[in-house]
């Protein structure tokens, strides 16, 4: 009898130890999450893993460089290179556009010549998007600061109004804007950097009138009417 009680005690103590360790782990994880955002439960997309745990980590600690490799310690640290750069909240934690415009970096535009000025093209494209989401504003000027026309046209984007089907799903999977945004250029977690032109009050009112909410609250409206007819 006594040995049976002891046997159960061992079980209970072991379980407590396991639970205790898990709670400690969870608390410390939550702590790192809290340090980054006020509400880790409500980050942009819960299907994405939590944001980077260490920003601009030195090569030997970044998880991709092998600390055993003799060259790893010879590499420059990102944080070392970024000390004078304007900060941003995502990607490399660097506002690349701002430091380029401010002349803090002067990257070559052409392989053959260090002094060639970029060929800039100042055309802003506004893409109307579904629902109440603000429209997308695409500035060619900022993109031609870095890129050549041939980088995007015609392989990624057909230069014709209405010819390009773009969705956030495609972008998240690395197509269209996602070829760069989400890999090298600023990631898509900051919606308003692209969705920058809010819908007008009239458009928002028209949307509300078309929605089911407006219909169910008004009994005289025909419920079977197609919601999207213009």
């Amino acid at each position: 009898m006594k040995s049976r009680i002891q046997f159960h005690l061992v079980h209970v103590m072991a379980l407590c130890a396991v639970l205790g360790l898990l709670v400690v782990g969870a608390i410390s994880l939550a702590g790192t999450g809290l340090a980054q955002s006020k509400s880790p439960a409500n980050t942009f997309n819960r299907l994405l893993k939590s944001p980077t745990t260490a920003k601009n980590a030195p090569p030997a600690e970044d998880g991709v460089h092998d600390p055993q490799n003799p060259g790893t310690t010879m590499l420059q640290w990102p944080s070392e290179a970024f000390t004078e750069f304007d900060k941003s909240s995502d990607g490399n934690q660097v506002d690349w556009m701002s430091i380029l415009r401010a002349g803090k970096i002067s990257p070559w535009f052409e392989f053959e010549s260090q002094t060639t000025e970029p060929f800039l093209f100042d055309l802003v494209i506004v893409r109307e998007v579904k629902g109440s989401m603000p429209n997308v504003v695409f500035p060619h000027e900022a993109h031609t600061q870095w890129l050549d026309c041939s980088n995007c046209h015609d392989e990624i984007f057909i230069p014709e109004k209405g010819a390009n089907q773009i969705s956030m799903a495609a972008i998240l999977l690395g197509q269209k804007c996602g070829v760069c945004h989400g890999r090298v250029a600023f990631p898509v977690t900051d919606c308003r950097r692209c969705h920058a032109q809010p819908k007008t009050p009239e458009e928002l009112r028209a949307l509300a009138e078309k929605s089911n909410w407006a219909k169910t609250s008004n009994t005289s409206t025909d419920q079977t009417a197609a919601p999207d007819k213009k």
């Binding site: 782990g25 998880g63 490399n92 998240l172 690395g174």
Partner: protein
């Protein structure tokens, strides 16, 4: 000698401790998420040739060159591992070899500066949005 029950008890305790350790380490084992944004690991041929995979730091090159220089003038495609680069092409002055030739940048004899990745890593852009999706993209 130890009784049968004692052995069962001990093995149960060991099992609990192992489970606990595994749970806690899996919570913290998120090293790849610390990779600098835009770092590309290229492992088309490296592992098979007994070299560490290549880690290409976009941020370092971006300070010095606009995207156009490599992606238009030098012909790098926007695809991790999609350029089929090998050392022969680099010796021949193609791709990385256009600059890494001891005239614009240090030369190819500095193997360990590029071949610096953790062995057996997959070719991809680390820390990218599609990389961070919990459900992996169907290949």
């Amino acid at each position: 000698m130890l009784g049968r029950r004692t052995i069962v008890r001990l093995s149960l305790v060991v099992a609990y401790v192992l489970i606990a350790v595994l749970c806690v380490t899996s919570l913290f084992n998120d090293n790849e998420a610390k990779a600098e944004y835009g770092d590309v690991v290229i492992n088309n041929y490296s592992d098979a040739a007994g070299m560490r995979p290549v880690v290409f730091p976009h941020w370092f090159h971006r300070i010095r060159f606009r995207c156009k220089v490599c992606h238009a003038d030098l012909g790098f495609k926007f695809k991790a591992g999609g350029n089929d680069i090998n050392m022969l092409k680099i010796f021949d002055g193609q791709f990385c070899g256009r600059c890494h030739n001891n005239s614009i940048a240090w030369g190819v004899e500095n193997c360990v500066l590029c071949h610096s990745g953790v062995p057996n890593m997959k070719t991809r852009v680390h820390n990218s949005t599609s990389d961070r999706l919990v459900a992996p993209v169907a290949k």
